[in-house]
């Protein structure tokens, strides 16, 4: 009886998540009356704004990942190595973006870095892009920090550091040749999550007036019928591809294969 109930709960849950996706996909294929077609996808992929905004968001995602890795890996490493007592505070700080809405963060940025402030980042495209990267890194912080911290937990960070030091390694070598390669899977997990977040993010990009993929989806959604559904399917596909890549990287990593 318990087993049947479990299956019922599972099926209901799956229907709850899958049915809207099936409906949306079906709708995105229904642009041509009476037959299924990829017209909506062709239209979108042929739209120069799609390529422009998607390219911009990919660029922002890569910049965010690089910034996030450079910020989070040394921080998480140092906290584990030298400041373990500070971990609960760091965890609390990294969780803040989950409870503080993006709109609050971006309004804070605009207020702090507007053209009449002491650091007028919003006064130029480059400055605003930079601000957007910082904003994205903040949004991705809970995922990136947790992923890296979990990766570090599997290592004896202290002993590996001391072993490397006794062999003559400085901090840079330890971080980039010992620690980072050993948490690479965790870093990549965080990176793919960051990528998925950045690609679909709307609030920050819209309020900072940047030509990102999120605002493009919104504009398209306001003016077209079938294309937004196709775009949503594409966005889901990108997210799932990221998740799949996390799994793939985890399985392919040589030195942590089962049997270790």
């Amino acid at each position: 009886m318990t087993r049947i109930l479990a299956w019922v709960a599972l099926i209901l849950g799956m229907l709850y998540f899958i049915l809207p996706l099936v409906g949306m996909t079906e709708f995105s294929l229904s642009m041509r009356r009476g037959v299924y077609s990829l017209d909506a996808y062709t239209t979108i992929l042929g739209d120069p704004r799609f390529r422009q905004t998607f390219g911009y968001s990919v660029l922002m995602a890569v910049a965010t990942i690089i910034f996030g890795v450079l910020l989070v890996v040394p921080t998480a490493y140092w906290v584990r190595l030298r400041l373990p007592w500070i971990r609960p505070y760091i965890e609390f700080i990294t969780l803040l973006p989950l409870v503080i809405p993006a709109i609050v963060i971006v309004f804070g940025y605009i207020r702090l870095y507007n053209t009449s402030s002491w650091l007028p980042l919003t006064g130029s495209s480059m400055g605003t892009n930079l601000l957007l990267v910082f904003g994205y890194a903040t949004l991705a912080l809970p995922y990136m920090y947790r992923a890296v911290d979990t990766g570090l937990r599997t290592l004896d960070v202290g002993t590996l550091t001391e072993a490397a030091q006794s062999l003559g390694a400085g901090w840079g070598t330890i971080l980039f040749r010992v620690i980072l390669p050993n948490v690479l899977v965790a870093v990549l997990s965080g990176a793919f999550l960051t990528f998925a977040i950045v690609i679909g993010e709307f609030t920050m990009a819209a309020l900072l007036d940047r030509p990102a993929f999120g605002p493009f989806m919104q504009i398209l959604g306001a003016n077209r019928a079938y294309e937004p559904a196709a775009l949503a399917v594409i966005a889901f596909a990108i997210t799932w591809a990221c998740m799949g890549l996390i799994q793939l990287v985890t399985r392919l990593q040589k030195h942590t294969r089962a049997g270790a």
Partner: protein, 354 residues
């Protein structure tokens, strides 16, 4: 002048003094073990030599130069850890070559050195070089860790309980290999262990540490046979302690529990003073034996079969004696409660700290 000179080393964590005025001159090529129970400060001394802890006071000199101000990566001191600490993302060859690459040794020379090191530890480059640490057994991993530590030709090698994580047979084999490699390379080595058998079997000298202090420094023979303090006597090996009163210090006669013993050597204690004495189990014989002039009727109380040796606790003259006898398949040991005779010589009695 000592090659490695540890002088008046102190270390405190807050109000807790874990190392107290520790001094130890070590000659070049010497193998010295720091032996003691958990928390005695032996690992802290090792970590100060490595540079992972900063001494509260004192100096550590190599060839007369104080290394305390140097960072761990500037000391050229190799270290092997209990947990192996191989880099999981690197192959065996890359692990061994790690220190060489940092030292700027590259190309053919580095490859040759890695090959040499792997040959020394008995894991040939062609067969093991491309393997990852997870593809090796614990003993093999520790060998690789040793090769990795030795590859950059360090001035001193530190071994922090390197055998503790291994099973008994591998431990015995590997400790012999470590000693052999150390002798071949002539590298000055400090070995930290809480296992007395390990320390006694492979060291030139043993430092027995207790509560942050070096209780006794000496050869394994001296440490075992002439313990300087009650702690060393109780920590190293097994013994039966007695309280005795000095009868005649000139000829070394003492009395314990109505039993008069002649130790065959003069004592520095005065007549009538109490001295702690002890007997090793191997000094007491089951039955009579030539050269063992003290013969006592006894009752076997406990019999412990340990393989090649049988340990018996027997009561005689109102005292409890531990004795070891070799296992002989044709002569079964006595049963508990059985009447036996035991014998020993006064010359085998250890006088602790006198």
């Amino acid at each position: 002048m000592a090659y490695l000179d540890i002088a008046h080393l102190e270390k405190s964590f807050g109000a807790n003094r874990v190392v107290k005025d520790f001094s130890l001159p070590i000659d070049k090529g010497e193998f010295v073990s720091l032996l003691g129970p958990s928390g005695c400060g032996k690992t802290t001394v090792l970590r100060m030599v490595a540079g992972f802890e900063t001494p509260s006071a004192g100096a550590i000199r190599i060839e007369g130069k104080d290394i305390v101000p140097l960072r761990p990566n500037q000391r050229n001191i190799g270290m092997v850890f209990q947990a192996y600490a191989l880099f999981p993302n690197l192959t065996v060859a890359q692990n061994v070559g790690f220190g060489l690459r940092i030292a700027g040794v590259a190309g053919k020379e580095a490859q040759t050195r890695v090959g040499e090191m792997l040959d020394i530890i008995g894991l040939p480059l062609a067969e093991y070089g491309a393997r990852y640490p997870f593809q090796l057994s614990g003993g093999q991993q520790q060998r690789v860790a040793l090769a990795r530590a030795l590859a950059p030709r360090p001035r001193v090698l530190l071994l922090d309980e390197p055998l503790s994580a291994l099973d008994a047979k591998v431990r015995v084999r590997l400790r012999g290999e470590i000693r052999d490699i150390q002798r071949r390379l002539g590298i000055t080595t400090i070995f930290v262990t809480h296992d007395q058998e390990e320390a006694l079997s492979i060291s030139d000298r043993v430092v027995v540490m207790n509560a942050g202090i070096a209780d006794q420094v000496g050869s394994p023979f001296e440490i075992y046979n002439r313990p300087a303090t009650p702690f060393v006597a109780s920590f190293v090996g097994t013994l039966t302690p007695f309280e005795a009163t000095v009868i005649d210090p000139r000829v070394g006669t003492v009395m314990s529990g109505g039993l008069t013993m002649n130790l065959g050597r003069p004592l520095s204690a005065e007549t009538g003073t109490a001295v702690p004495i002890a007997l090793r189990p191997e000094a007491v014989q089951l039955g009579r034996a030539s050269g063992r002039e003290i013969i006592l009727p006894a009752t076997a109380r406990e019999v412990e079969f340990m393989g090649s040796v049988i340990r018996i606790r027997a009561e005689a003259a109102g005292q409890s004696f531990l004795l070891d006898t070799f296992n002989r398949p044709d002569a079964p040991p006595p049963q508990p409660g059985e009447a036996v005779e035991i014998s020993f010589s006064g010359r085998d009695v250890i006088v602790i700290g006198v």
